[in-house]
Structures are given as C-alpha cells and as structure tokens.
Amino acid sequence: MPAAITSIGAVTGHGLGRARLLAAVLEGRSAIRPLTRFSAEGLCSSLAAEAPPDAELLAVARSLGPVAPEDRASRLALAAAAEALADRDLTPSARRGVVVGTTKGALERATQAWEQGAPLPEDVLGMPARTLAGVTGARGPVLTVSAACASSAAALGEALALIDEGTCDEVIVGGTEALHAFVYRGFHALKALSASPAAPFDAARSGLSLGEGAGVLVVESVARARAAGREVIAVLEGVGGSTDGFDQTAPDPSGAGLVVACRRALARAGLGVESVGRYHAHGTATLHNDRMEAAAHAVLFGGREVPVCGIKGSIGHTLGAAGVLDVAVGALTLQRGVLPPIANLSRVDPAARVPAVEGRARAGGGSVALIANAGFGGINAAVVLRRDAVAP
C-alpha cells in the first residue's frame, strides 16, 4: 500500500522552511559558503552549507512546546518538525510513530563527554528521534535508522512499512545531520572535500561540499489523508535497498548495486522503469559517485534520456538528512510539474554523462520520480514518488 506525504518541513543552508529551499533550488542558487561554525585552518576546504544558528532553530521549535535539546541535530529536527506539524493534531497516540535517519545524531554530546572523561549520555544516536517523540505525542514505534548517506531514505522505507502493515496511522519521518568538526576533518582525511562549491556531474568538479539540515515529513495512508481533507503533496509508492558488496568507501563503479535498489523500489511500487519521468541523483560531486551514478542511469534506463536533478550543489551533502531532503524537493517539484536544475553545474563531465537539468528550472519530468541515495559501506536506497492524481 502506498502512503501519502501530507506535510513537509525543512531546514537547510538556505534557511528555515521548505519555501526557501524550494525557491533556491528552482533558481539554482547555492548555499555553500565559507564556514563560520569552526575553523577549517589547514584543511583542504573551508566551505559548507550551514543552517541557521541555534537561536533561530529554537525560536521556531517553540511552537511544539517548551523543549531545548542540548544537541544541534535535535534542534534542526525540531525546527523542521515545527513547520511540518503546524496545525496537526498531536494528541498522544499509539498509532503515531517517529522514524529518524541520521549518521551521527548528537555526536557533540559524545565528544564533550570524552573530553571531560565523563560517562556518555545514553543513546547519542537516538536523541533526535526521542526528542521528536517527546513533543509529538508519538506512542508507537520511535526508531533511529542509520544507513550511512542513505539513512533518511531508509527511514522513509521503515515509515512506509509501518503504514503498509497497519502498525501506524501516521509516521513523522525525518532526517537530520549537524555539521560537526569531527566529520569535516574526516572527509578532509579522505580527500573528499572540494575547495570550491560542489558541482555535481560537472567536468571541473573536485569533490563534495558538506552541508547540514533536517527534513521532516508526515506520511499516512492515502485514504486517511483524503478523509481528513488534507492535500497529498506526493504519493510514496516504494522504497528499495541494497548493498554493493564492493568496498567500504568507493561505490561499485558499474552502478550495479544502485540499480538493484532502484529496481527493488520500483517493484515495491508496482511500476516499470518506463514510468519514471525524472531521476533525482545522489550526486555528491565526487568522481567515484558521479561516474557510478552515470553508469547506473545508463543501465537502468537503457539509454533513455530521463532528466537528472540533484540538490547537493545547492545545499551541500547533508549525509543522514540527504535522503529526506531529496524526497522533499522531489515531492514539491513533482507536485508543480517542474524540474529543478543542478546548482553549480556548467558543463557535464563527458566521463559521467547524464541528461542533467542545467541552468534553469523547466517544466516536465512526468508523474513518477525515482530518488537515489548511496553511502559508505556500499549501502544504497531508492525511493519512488508519484504525483497525486487528485487535485487538492
């Protein structure tokens, strides 16, 4: 059974709210700028797409209640949830679940404890999900899902399953990731950071730019959404996952693992690949990823020129939040029948040739979107969205 996406909240380098994110993505604007939150001295990049400061996050989160979490990932998630849950009934319910995708959760709580020689607070990874559960009356499953950079796409799969099997009436599903010096220095160590803003699929690209942010969606059965008179932004038709079995960091260059995930998602949706009108790429702007994804696109679509979109040139790579933010942009642009351009893309790499949407947004993209994520460990996840056939 598919599920309806009926609410979207977002916090990104473009600021608070889905409207700012959508406007910037459609205009091809990039939020990747010089870092302000910590020093990048001696590192190969000093750029990132930073979300608004904590005070702004907490100001909007206040609409959910008097809560002030001690970690940034939870603050980001709360700020996104405040937008997604505006005007929603949050009476405590055992039929409401929370699923959050993240790779590092409240990491700073752990690093602070280690520095002080203090015991670690319980469940650092699960802090954002617990914080969300505490303010949303969720008494059903409250889970944190990690799957590297496919974490929040995998969280969407769990949310869809909870609706499909009848465990939940609605699931608040999100992804959140704060920008940590720890992670920034790690990507520097891997030589994966670009000194210039990330330019996915561009011939001159030189690596990724990190970002931070959160996306929160509310999913429920289509019938329930219609009965309540809620607008269905997009229909979540299927989610599929796979593992490359190739390497911890490098993706399988053939793209075979990602293709399997996409086919599993389409099979779950009961749709053929010919129905896909747009492909929202993981598009990190690393050589490994972009060439792998170009190979996967060619195999999956058999050479058909399915337009390729991607948002990491605009908001950076938000790691555990990337999947749900990709889905948020996919749903909003699918609803409007428009294809967003890939920010910072000037000339497509001939060695990673994809039919990228370049320059400016354009109409089109059909009624079915395929959204792909790939992460360390060779973990892949794909999401199929369909434009709702019924006008709101």
């Binding site: 469940d123 990690s146 799957a147 499909d164 790690g186 079995g245 399997v260």
Partner: protein, 271 residues
C-alpha cells in the same frame, strides 16, 4: 499478507563465550568479549578491507559462524535463499563509538589536518555491518536501528514485520554493542560487550524452526527492565527448539522505548 517467520539460526558472543544455537550465558558484567574459541575462523574479512576495524572483524567472525552452521545443519529442502537477497539490520546504542573515540584521539595527537582515513571509515554505525555484507555476500538492504536499551529487540521485531508482510525473505538481525578502546569504554552505559545475531527467514508450515509469532514496539510510560533482552530471545529460541513452549520477551529503556517479541515452537514440532 502474513508469512510465517522462523529463527533458523542464532549466534551470541558474550564475555562468557561464543554460543551457536545453544543457550547463551551473559558472563561477567562490564567485561570484554571472551576470546574467540579455537578452531577455524574466516581467513580474511574482505580482499578490499585493508585495515578492518577489530570490532568489524568480530562481527564478521560471528556472522560467518552463524551462516556456516545454518548451511551445514539444514537439510537441502531448507536451503537458505540466495545471499544477495538477505537483509542485514542490527540494533545498536554504542554505534561506532569506539572508532569515533579513536579518530578523536588521533586528531588530538597528530593535529586536526591529520586524521586517520582508515579509522574515519569506521565512524559510522553501519561500517561494521557493512563489512559483514562485504565479506559474506549479503546484498539486501542494510541498516542499524537505535531505540535505547531495546535497540536489538527492535531490530529483530522490525525484521520479523518486514518478512511477515512479504517485503523481505530473510534478515540477519540482532544487536551489537562493542565500544571498548583498550581499557576505556567509549559507549554509553557501563560497558558490557555483546553481539547477538539471529537469522530470520520466511518459511512454510513444515519448517522445524521456532517461530516469531508476535512483536510490538512503542514509546512512553516505560521503565527499564534490563539490557540483555537479546540473550533472552536466544534463550527463548533454544527453549522452543529443545523443550517447546511459547515465550514472550519484553524489554524497555529508561528513555521510554519498549519492545516485545513472542517466540514459539514450530507447529510441525508437535505438542
């Protein structure tokens, strides 16, 4: 759609030893894992794993042992589905805390621009499970699940739900809490190391293995009932195999998450 779900094999590694399809013992609290028993082990983790993290190696060893036992003991009619369809989902609270601490210590000692790339690779909760997928050829979806002290029980419950609904056919699930760095415990809590793996499979009525018959997850109004719920699951499975009788395993965490799982003998086992 509700497909019967069975536990075809399990493997538990605690400070007391390694237990394959037998009733496990917890061992001394706050103690490290027991030494790997004598006998054959996987010669290598994966050809491309140049410097595999010690915890990933431990996880690969136990998973390899479990799958070997599953394939050795089962009759041909109960052959495991192709490994490229087997999912992997492990509960964890500690996640990658040991690699995280090692990476932080490296930055402190060598400077922020000189972090170890081979350590950073393991600073994801999914890194050690990914090594299992790499080494053993599992190509299904891979995730970790965190829900406080019931993370492992939650991972097993969700795997059972996916198999029962027909969206998965087999899942290597369970829990892993490995966070020791020398004498230091990097994770939350007091430092009891354990790995518990269960192979859940879709089966038909004739299958002899114990069934997972019911499961549930929730949040709120819970009080902690302990952290060794996966050992209780393993004991319930062993009891269902050897003596019969259904058993519910219930766990909860101080943060409010709770989970329950009911294990029963196979109907084909008879009264």
């Amino acid at each position: 759609m509700s497909v019967p779900v069975a536990v075809s094999a399990f493997a538990v590694w605690t400070p007391a030893g390694v237990f394959i399809d037998t009733t496990p013992e917890a061992g001394a609290p706050d103690a490290p894992l027991a030494a790997w028993p004598d006998g054959p082990v996987l010669a290598q983790v994966h050809p491309r794993a140049r410097r595999p993290h010690a915890h990933a190696v431990s996880l690969v060893r136990l998973a390899h042992q479990l799958l070997s036992e599953r394939e050795r003991a089962a009759p041909p009619a109960l052959r495991l589905i192709p490994r490229d369809e087997v999912e992997l989902s492990l509960g964890t609270v500690a996640g990658s805390a040991s690699a995280d601490l090692e990476f932080v210590e490296g930055l402190r000692q060598r400077g922020v621009a000189f972090g170890s790339p081979s350590t950073f690779v393991y600073t994801l909760p999914t890194a050690a499970p990914a090594e299992v997928a790499l080494a053993l050829g599992l190509r299904g979806a891979l995730t970790t699940v965190t829900a406080g002290a019931v993370s492992g029980l939650s991972a097993v419950a969700r795997a059972a739900a996916r198999i029962a609904s027909g969206s998965a056919r087999a899942c290597l699930c369970g829990g892993v809490e490995l966070a020791r760095v020398g004498e230091r415990w990097a994770g939350p809590g007091t430092g009891h190391e354990a790995v518990a793996l269960f192979l859940l499979e879709a089966v038909d009525a004739s299958s002899p293995w114990p069934r997972v018959e019911a499961w549930g997850l929730g949040f709120g109004e819970a009080a902690s009932t302990g952290t060794d719920t996966l050992l209780e699951v393993a004991r319930a499975v062993a009891r269902a195999r050897e003596q019969g009788g259904a058993q519910a395993v219930v766990g909860s965490s101080p943060e409010g998450a709770w989970a329950r799982l009911q294990v029963a003998p196979s109907p084909s086992r008879g009264p």
